[in-house]
Symmetry: C2
């Protein structure tokens, strides 16, 4: 009897939420390798990890890391928006190229949502671009129950709108 | 012939755009005294001045200060939104209690807008609350040509929406 090829099996994932000093580098590598982020977005992502390492939870940034052995399979970053009681931004979800299409992104998102529920619920916002290269991202969030709640034409650049998705947790 | 009472004359304002180390304290005092910001908003405002003093223009925050003699009459803070080509957030405009209703706010806003035009134009966004206490702020922006472009129900707290105003500079 044949077994499935190894690459379609779900990897054994180990989860953690506390960033370590090596994560500035591993998050940069992961996000770069995921192939969907711009150079400026990569810099911002690394900066958020550094902020968290410098300031701890006072930075306002929370993380989920999914690891296979020593390597980072995926990561999510989110945080409460300052001045709000319970509105959160999902800053990114990134999955490494070898782990894509295996449900790692859904698992990362589910853990972020579980944490929001544990904090008493609230609004989770995701900002994406209207560009065709973000269509997979928009479908990912739509299929997870997020709906478009606002659109800002020409936000990122002429012809490139910001599309805001929202899911509410009662 | 009677002269106007002194307090209705427009004060002689001196303008600068480079923050000084004393501004963390003077901005906090100004914003506190203006009477329309919450304690958390006051902390955020002071933090943005500190960010700018620490990191310079790389912080992304730009300022306008209006002074009468040694004291701060008003201040505005704005900056380009990361990852955008030409979208700017107006973080605050604050005017001290002795200078209110004399056009200082309009002059601060005009200087921010002039700087945006000098940078080649773009979108200037202002985020306000739907609460009754922000009605004067919403009227201020509406009369300056800003129009509501998005509304996020229950953003700040249940029943307290975020209202986003936009003015575009070609």
């Amino acid at each position: 009897m044949m077994t499935k090829p190894a690459e379609t099996r779900l990897p054994v994932l180990h989860w953690r939420t506390t960033p370590r000093s090596g994560d500035t580098r591993s998050v940069r590598k992961l996000i770069q390798a995921s192939g969907v982020f711009s150079p400026e977005e990569i810099d911002v992502a690394e900066e958020l990890v550094r902020e968290r390492l410098d300031k701890g939870t006072a930075s306002g940034y929370e993380f989920v890391f999914a690891e296979t052995g020593e390597s980072l399979a995926g990561s999510a970053c989110y945080g409460r928006v300052p001045l709000t009681r319970a509105s959160y931004d999902l800053d990114w979800i990134a999955v490494g190229p070898n782990q894509q299409r295996r449900g790692v992104g859904q698992q990362l998102l589910a853990r972020v949502e579980d944490d929001l529920r544990a904090r008493g619920g609230g609004n989770l916002y995701v900002e994406t671009s209207s560009r065709p290269s973000y269509e997979a991202a928009r479908r990912f969030y739509a299929s997870a129950g997020y709906r478009e709640c606002a659109r800002f034409p020409d936000f990122y650049a002429p012809g490139d709108a910001k599309v805001v998705f929202l899911k509410r947790f009662p």
